[in-house]
């Protein structure tokens, strides 16, 4: 007889209590539901028992704080009236980084963590956002307790950042050293050994540069001994807060011995191969007098002066008769003659000299160099070393006046420092600093590296270790 699949027959095949029996799929599901969360909590508990808080961290610490990774409570400190929260406090930051407030007139001091975002890995904590600065600088009068002279509203470099102050105020270069850049940069300039083409680096270099100077008499810096930093500039508008790296950030002042001496000879008399020292007038005067005294002592015959052969016209007065001078007279006369040449031509070509009849020696004006043109910002030439000088300082090829300010305008900066993937960093912190670290308070050191590494409290480490 054929198989018959009636509903009744099919129903009778089913055990009505089938759902009470465990089946593998459901059994697996049950055990996974139990074991997986249990394993998760065991893992967290295990790390907690080992005092390793990394699993709970919201992200890796920045490079400078990485030693604190295992000790969250170094920064996350329970504050007063806080029963549960242990947020990262300003006091914890100031235990190591106690800088003064930004401005005495500021009415609002942001929390450290609102600008410096931790737990973002190796990102620089200094890389604060424009919005952090714009909290106040977008409307400075409202954020200051009293009127300020600063620009009232700045939100971003490519938004409303003003022109650099020296251009905004139409100021001039106050330097008294006369330099005609155009003449110096022209082709086939007459050099000490023929025609040359000067380059910017023949006069402007970073202090640590070790290459020999092309047109100087100074010895190059020894490779063994690091180059001494440039002498303090004659005039730095505000040096300490934004003090550049003395080695590479700013260009050193051009020095006569290194950049000028090969072409600008300081010879004062054809009798002497020596040149006067590039120094103050009294030093130069003493050198000249000494040279003449030594000379006349060695050549007493020259005390008797013979008049030159008379080639005068009949209408001209007769030449003075032959004279016999004392050595002192001879030295005085020749010194005066040489110094007339020096003060009036050789020195004056570059320096501003105040020559008065009442003064025996001229008064040399202060050079008034400006080393740092951006008093409230920092600029690093070394970071821009790959760029041709004239690409940012085009005026250096055409300037004829010392008073010309040859730093680039803000527009030049904006060409590269702009938003977007094809541009470089444009945030405020790139050029401006918030904290004046020169006025920071000294910290009381408490950390012990071994303790941090072992995630133990410093008290657990014996003194002296």
């Amino acid at each position: 007889m054929p198989r018959v699949r009636t509903t009744k027959a099919l129903a009778q095949r089913i055990d009505l209590n089938y759902f009470k029996r465990p089946i593998p799929l459901r059994r697996w599901r049950f055990w996974l539901i139990v074991l997986l969360p249990l394993a998760s909590f065991l893992w967290l508990g295990w790390r907690l028992a080992a005092r390793d808080y990394r699993p709970y961290s919201s992200g890796p610490l920045s490079a400078g704080h990485v030693l604190l990774t295992r000790d969250c409570h170094t920064c996350h400190v329970a504050e007063k009236n806080a029963a549960f929260e242990v947020h990262a406090s300003n006091q914890a930051c100031k235990a190591c980084h106690d800088g003064p407030i930004h401005q005495v007139k500021q009415t609002f001091e942001p929390a450290c963590g609102s600008c410096h975002i931790e737990h973002r890995g190796a990102a620089r904590l200094i890389a604060t956002s424009n919005q952090s600065c714009a909290q106040c600088h977008a409307n400075l009068p409202a954020a200051a307790s009293s009127p300020t002279n600063y620009f009232r509203s700045i939100t971003s470099l490519n938004g409303d950042h003003p022109e650099i102050a020296v251009f905004r105020d139409h100021r001039k270069d106050p330097s008294t050293i006369r330099v005609n850049h155009k003449v110096h940069m022209k082709k086939n300039l007459l050099g000490p050994h023929g025609n040359v083409q000067l380059e910017c680096s023949d006069c402007h270099r970073q202090p640590v540069a070790r290459d020999a100077w092309r047109f100087g008499s100074a010895e190059p810096a020894s490779a063994a001994a690091p180059a001494a930093p440039s002498p303090a500039p004659a005039r730095v508008m505000k040096a300490d807060l934004y003090a550049p790296d003395p080695g590479r950030a700013l260009m050193t002042l051009p020095k006569f011995a290194e950049s000028c001496s090969a072409c600008h000879l300081l010879q004062f008399d054809k009798r002497f191969p020596d040149q006067v020292p590039h120094d103050k007038p009294d030093v130069v005067h003493a050198f000249v007098v000494k040279k003449y005294e030594a000379y006349i002592a060695a050549h007493p015959a020259e005390l008797r002066e013979q008049p030159e052969v008379d080639r005068r016209l009949p209408s001209r007065p007769a030449p003075p008769p032959a004279r016999v001078l004392t050595p002192a007279q001879w030295v005085a006369e020749h010194t005066k003659e040489a110094e007339t040449l020096l003060w009036g031509k050789t020195c004056r070509q570059c320096h501003a000299l105040d020559i008065a009849e009442s003064q025996p020696l001229p008064k040399l004006a202060e050079a008034n160099y400006t080393v740092h043109w951006l008093p409230r910002a920092r600029f690093d030439h070394d970071a821009h070393r790959g760029f041709a000088c004239a690409s940012c300082h085009p005026g250096a090829l055409t300037s004829t006046d010392t008073a010309d300010v040859l730093i680039p305008k803000i527009g030049t900066c904006k060409e590269c420092h702009a938003p977007g993937p094809t541009h470089v960093e444009e945030r405020c912190f790139e050029c401006h600093a918030y904290h004046d670290w020169s006025k920071r308070k000294e910290v009381n050191p408490t950390f012990v590296p071994q303790a941090l590494r072992a995630a133990l409290p410093p008290s657990a480490i014996p003194p002296g270790q």
Binding site: M1, P2, R3, R5, L10, Q12, R13, I14, D15, L16, N17, Y18, F19, R21, I23, L25, W28, R29, L32, I33, L35, L36, P37, S40, F41, L44, R54, P55, Y56, S57, S58, G59, P60, C72, H76, F84, E85, V86, H87, A88, S114, C115, I117, H119, T128, S129, N130, Q131, S132
Partner: protein, 308 residues
Amino acid sequence: MRIDETHRVWLLASVLILGAATAVYVLYALEAPHGPRGGSPLGLTFGIIGFGFMIYAGLLGARKQVPVWRLGRAQTWMRGHLWLGLLALPLILFHAGFHFGGTLTTVLLWLLIITVASGVFGAILQHYVPRLILERVPLETIYDEIHRIRTQLRVEAEGFMEDLCGNVPEAVQVAETEEAIRAGGFTALRPSRTGTGAQYGLTEEEVEPVRSFYTAELLPFLVKPEGPDSRLSDETRSQGAFSKLRMLVPAAAHPVIANLENLCEEERQLTRQVRLHRLLHVWLLVHIPLSLALLLLSVFHVVIALRY
């Protein structure tokens, strides 16, 4: 659950929520001083809403434990589970600012991604596979009972063989299995084993091909139906085998052969049902445990985030 036009409202609501959240996030990400952060007010809002959706999605499991409670229609719960659970992922990504953060948050985010991905995979399977079962397994039975049904099929086959051939040596094995089943105290009736000896008046020689076929192919197939070796596991080859068998025996034995062929067909369908059922449910082994771990660890994350 089929994703059909009844989901339209949920779909529209989800798209609207996602669109609004995306627009808010883009503006927030562009304006946030240090980029989007979970701790910022808007980041926390995304986190709270996303976690709320996750909890709602997770409550489906609890809802299934109390099916008789008046807590809304099961279909509504399931639709909410699908769409709000799906929305939880972008909202939590907005909360995290697309950063994985530390170890715990990385684990949480990966758990969420895997849970949602397995859920989407499961939803796709739930949409297509039931229809596939309906089409390809007309003899579908209760999955949990398949093992018992298979035993019954073997007993039934044995009965057909006893009717045709008299005694069948392998009957001992089946009887023992049946005894084991009955010892479990189940309520299903015993399979009808009607064989009472040769009823078709055929000689031993005439039924020998059937006996050999049963011993060599049919019984091994019924004992181990998911083995790849048997030609009976393939419908076309099985038809060929039974056609050949019919040519070897007298016409009187053909009704028994037809019954045996019918048994094979049912066995094949049960095998197909097992495979489709596993496909339909095995993703739950990933989805449910991970989602539970996700919810529990999320609570831990909330506590840690509020403290630190």
